[in-house]
């Protein structure tokens, strides 16, 4: 299990995990060994930025700008999602 992420950590998909559009059902899914995780649009916006090059702080900044929302609100949502996906071994840093 990862330690809690800091602002400087650069989250990325775990090896073997893929983000794909799901043409038949709509939306996007994370595909992992014997698992399919359907993502809502907000989660997709976060996960597609978890590319190993952006820091968590940069991801929060981008989303706060893109959605014209309060940074503190975006920050708590992003951290909660990243921690949740890390617990499912889909994201690491």
């Amino acid at each position: 299990m990862n330690r809690l992420p800091t602002d400087e950590d650069r989250p990325r998909l775990v090896r073997g995990v893929k983000l794909r559009p799901d043409a038949a059902r709509g939306g996007h899914v994370l595909l992992a060994p014997e698992r399919v995780v359907a993502l809502n649009p907000s989660a997709v916006a976060v996960v597609e930025r978890c590319d190993g090059s952006r820091s968590l702080a940069a991801i929060v900044d981008e989303l706060a700008a893109a959605y014209a929302a309060a940074r503190t609100l975006i920050e708590s949502d992003v951290h909660a999602l990243v921690r949740d996906l890390a617990a499912k071994r889909l994201i690491e840093w």
Partner: protein, 141 residues
């Protein structure tokens, strides 16, 4: 009113019934279809494309021993091109380092290596082939 049937998430493809092992518990203990009756590469590729279009997201390549198919790398490439998340279920027999590398290059996402027992002698009894456990350990390394 006919209830709507949701499209399947996964496809289990039994590529062949050939296998070098003879595991006592196997659900395909016999060569149910001979090599000449197996679907060819292009037919499987079409099945993969049709499955993906239907909504299948994950493909499990099984058998028999899927590595007994000479065209396994081509089949994995076809599955990857169809956009399927591709999993190989194998005993490892028939996979060396170069073929493994070719499978990864072709787009294999995941590999499941079957192990019959942690004890070598017991494992070989279960698999019906002496020396099979040692080969599996070599492939896992």
């Amino acid at each position: 009113m006919t209830p709507e049937i949701a499209p399947p998430l996964g496809l289990l493809a039994e590529l062949t019934h050939r296998c070098p092992l003879a595991c006592a518990y196997c659900s395909n203990p016999l060569e149910l279809l001979g090599r000449e009756a197996e679907l060819d590469t292009e037919t499987w590729a079409r099945v993969f494309r049709e499955a993906a279009a239907m909504g299948v997201l994950q493909l499990h390549l099984s058998g028999g021993e899927p590595a007994s198919r000479a065209d396994l790398v081509d089949l994995v490439r076809a599955a990857a091109q169809a956009g399927l998340y591709t999993n190989l279920i194998t005993s490892g027999l028939g996979l060396g380092p170069s073929r493994l590398a070719a499978l990864v290059e072709a787009g294999l996402d995941h590999l499941q290596l079957s192990i019959q027992d942690v004890d070598e002698a017991e494992a070989d009894v279960s698999a019906g082939l002496r020396g099979s456990h040692r080969k599996k350990r070599r492939i896992a390394a």
